[in-house]
């Protein structure tokens, strides 16, 4: 009791409220900011009245109200309070310990909304939000199965963060599950403020990795599909994405939503994405290689027209390309930061005014503008934002190699990128392999 009062002096948010339940004085303790106090008190009174009607003492009532915490266990008391629970402290000496009650809490999460980073055209469109229980509930709604299993962890020493691991019994490969669980259980004391911490401290993935070792998705639909494929899904409290382990190269090209289209269309779209990703990586390099190292590869008319458009551009094509790519990357980055109302303005300034002016000022050739515009558009054909930003990086390697070795450098660059992708492994599952479904529902 005394330590609660001491705590209240440090933290005015903590309330100690006296009330009578079933004719006995009790003290309620909890946070104003997390608990809707009037509603909770009403609920308590109601329950007490029911208990009094059936003429039971408070100690018996206690067992029906909530969970008992030992009086000496200060740590448990504080954990309960900071979790947003209400603590009932009976003042009568006959009752030892406190009661931990789930109160009516304030609404501190958004309601379920449509996704903001993944748009769905033909499929379920509700998205995860910050509340872990809501997310879990949504996932369970999508996955009505008695094979669904969850494991709950609390990560971190100073900050407690809830982490829930979800998998499908019989579908998930047991070695994968074991590897994931072992990593989590070995690092329960690590704080995970962000995904990098989760990836480096908990799963011990290499620090300098180009590909994300886990997929994130906003859509319960995607997460449940991944579960059905035998992957493992993690939900982190206050993080509105599900984390899917392990991620595969096919995730860059195919989305769950594709399966709502006829197979032919779906495959065509996937092929389009592959071409898009390849185009994004290859086109700047190809331009530099063809303009500055191997112009003889091009048809003579085309070579002439490109050379004509570069007339008056004072620097080599590598510098030209890098300059414009830099501006494009800036535009992309800025458009993420900008509020929605200013975004279109920037697009206009960046796209039309800058593009037009830069050609007229003979700073870059207009062929390059076309190529880089296509490159930027192509980069977002990849599924998932994290994949789209991943594929932005290798094109610079390819660009550099093509500036030195021409088309040979470009192809060798592709080989290097392939080799890198082939070397990535997470939990023993190679990134560049087809995900083998242990038990597919449709054969």
């Amino acid at each position: 009791m005394e330590f609660l009062q001491a705590k209240q002096k440090q933290d005015p948010d903590l309330f100690l409220h006296r009330m009578w339940i079933a004719g006995q004085p009790v003290m309620l303790a909890g946070y104003f900011s997390l608990i809707d106090l009037p509603q909770t008190m009403m609920l308590l009174q109601q329950q007490a009245r029911h208990a009094a009607d059936s003429e039971r003492p408070l100690s018996a009532l206690a067992s029906g109200l909530g969970e008992r915490i030992d009086r000496a266990d200060e740590q448990a008391v504080f954990t309960a309070i900071s979790d947003g629970c209400l603590l009932v402290v009976p003042e009568a000496e006959c009752f030892e310990g406190y009661l931990r009650i789930v109160p009516v809490s304030r609404t501190l999460s958004r309601s379920i909304e449509a996704p903001t980073t993944e748009s769905v055209l033909r499929g379920s469109a509700s998205s995860f939000n910050e509340d872990l229980d809501t997310n879990l509930g949504m996932l369970k709604k999508h996955m009505l199965s008695d094979l669904l299993r969850t494991r709950s962890y609390r990560m971190g020493k100073d900050q407690n963060r809830k982490l829930t691991l979800i998998y499908m019994e019989k579908h998930t490969d047991s070695s994968l599950l074991k590897a994931v669980c072992r990593k989590i259980e070995a690092h329960l004391d690590k704080e995970i403020p962000d995904l990098i911490a989760l990836s480096e401290d908990v799963f011990e993935f290499p620090k300098w990795s180009l590909v994300t070792r886990f997929n994130t998705t906003e859509l319960p639909h995607n997460a449940s599909a991944a579960l059905g494929q035998g992957k493992v899904v993690l939900l982190l409290d206050r993080y509105p994405f599900a984390i899917i382990l392990p991620s595969m190269i096919t995730d860059v090209f195919s989305s769950v939503n594709d399966r709502n289209y006829p197979l032919l269309l779906a495959n065509a779209v996937r092929l389009l994405r592959i071409i898009g990703v390849l185009a994004n990586m290859l086109m700047p390099g190809l331009y530099v290689a063809l303009v500055s190292v191997n112009p003889d590869v091009l048809r003579i008319e085309l070579a002439m027209s490109i050379a004509g458009s570069r007339e008056g551009v004072p620097y080599p094509s590598l510098v030209e390309t890098l300059l414009l790519l830099f501006v494009l990357e800036l535009t992309l980055e800025a458009s993420i930061r900008l509020p929605k109302s200013i975004g279109p303005t920037i697009t206009m300034v960046g796209g039309i005014i800058l593009g037009q002016a830069v050609v007229q000022a003979r700073l870059v050739s207009n062929v390059l503008i076309i190529i880089l515009a296509a490159t930027t558009i192509a980069s977002f054909t990849a599924v998932g934002f994290h994949n789209a930003i991943t594929i932005r990086v290798p094109k610079y390697l390819l660009l550099l190699l093509s500036a030195i070795f021409g088309v040979l450098g470009l192809f060798v660059g592709i080989l290097i990128v392939s080799a890198y992708l082939a070397s990535v492994k997470s939990f023993g599952v190679p990134y560049a392999s087809r995900w083998k479904n242990k038990r597919s529902p449709n054969g």
């Binding site: 191997n294 003889d296 590869v297 091009l298 030195i404 021409g406 080989l415 080799a419 190679p430």
Partner: protein
């Protein structure tokens, strides 16, 4: 887990990487008529060698050839494997040097030779350092990415073919196989014998089915034929024999009016060079495996780096194409040894082991 797909991909790629440059030159030089005899003979040897080799390996459950030979006695292992490692080293030097020369001759005439060699060795070293499993997955990825391009160019290469050059089909010289022991023909074994040894090194890391690889060998045959017959059909033998790289010249004559590129050869050559790079990294990996077997304290990354550096330095010492050709010829002895001795020894050891096993039971 069975990874036959990856093994097949690497098998095809590494051979295709070797076929298209020197092989047609040698075959066209060795015969004036009836080249198909030479190709088929070489190919039959190739299939037989692979069959014997994999049969021998199949007696040992997922053991690499180093373990197999070491199990038969340390002295034997040294005697058998020392020439193999020497062969690998020569192979690395020759392939890197020759392909760098080809690149500078054909399309990077202003780039210094050492830069191209450095690129090759750096990339091959990097891939071999990433490990054999990654290498095989890379092989599959490269096959998926580059094969359509390769097949396109191959089908285009027949554009200027004059089928009359097929005749006469045969003459006395080709029928009597008198060309077999001559220098150009022996040189042509470069394409057949270069790439099959890896099948014995990978079983502990990349398991595969013997049957799958054997069934894939016929897929290579059309490539051998195309590489020799496209220049023959395009130019005729008398002209084709004058060129250093007849197949490249033949593809260069193809003109596709609807394509934005003038020289599709370049893309073809580069895909082939990428395949060769994969082959080089595979040989590098095998060599480092042997080095580390003898010197177990050398770290794998250091071994790759050292090997690449040594190869680079030796490549720099080779002054011209004449020297490359001479080295190729010297390497032929080692190659014949590798083709004949290693598969047969493996088979003998395998049979002996089975007998022992049977006697033991």
């Amino acid at each position: 887990m069975d990874k036959s797909m990856q093994v097949i991909a690497v098998y095809l790629l590494s051979h295709i990487g070797l076929i298209f440059f020197m092989y047609p030159t040698d075959i066209i030089e060795s015969l004036s008529v009836g080249h198909w005899c030479a190709i088929l003979l070489g190919f039959a040897c190739h299939v037989a060698v692979i069959a014997i080799y994999t049969k021998g390996l199949s007696y040992f459950k997922s053991q690499s050839i180093i373990d197999i030979f070491a199990g038969a006695g340390k002295a034997l292992a040294w005697i058998l494997l020392l020439p193999v490692s020497l062969y690998f080293l020569m192979m690395l030097i020759l392939t890197v040097r020759a392909y760098a020369e080809i690149v500078t001759i054909i399309f990077l005439d202003s780039t210094p030779l050492w830069a191209v060699m450095a690129l090759f060795l750096a990339v091959a070293g990097l891939i071999s350092f990433m490990g054999v499993e990654a290498m095989f997955r890379t092989g599959l990825l490269a096959a998926i990415l580059f094969f359509p391009l390769l097949l396109f160019v191959l089908s285009v290469s027949f554009q200027n073919a004059d089928w009359h050059y097929l005749y006469p089909i045969m003459d006395k010289r080709s029928a009597s196989f008198s060309f077999v022991l001559e220098r150009p023909y022996l040189l042509s074994f470069f394409a057949f014998a270069g790439g099959f040894l890896f099948l014995g090194f990978i079983p502990p890391y990349v398991p595969y089915k013997r049957r799958a690889v054997l069934w894939t060998t016929p897929v290579l045959l059309p490539f051998f034929f195309v590489s020799v017959y496209v220049p023959l059909l395009t130019f005729g033998r008398n002209t084709a024999v004058q060129f250093q790289f007849p197949f490249i010249m033949a593809v260069d004559t193809a003109d596709i009016s609807w394509l934005m590129f003038d020289r599709v050869t370049m893309f073809f050559m580069i895909t082939v060079i990428c395949f060769a790079l994969l082959f080089i990294s595979l040989v590098m990996w095998k060599t480092t495996l042997m080095i580390r077997r003898v010197l177990p304290f050398v770290r794998p990354d250091l071994a790759s780096l050292l090997l690449a550096a040594v190869v680079f330095v030796i490549c720099l010492q080779i002054p011209n194409w004449k020297m490359v050709e001479r080295l190729f010829w010297w390497n032929t002895y080692l190659r014949l040894y590798v083709v004949a001795v290693i598969p047969l020894t493996t088979l003998v050891l395998g049979i002996r082991r089975r007998r022992k096993g049977a006697a033991g039971i």
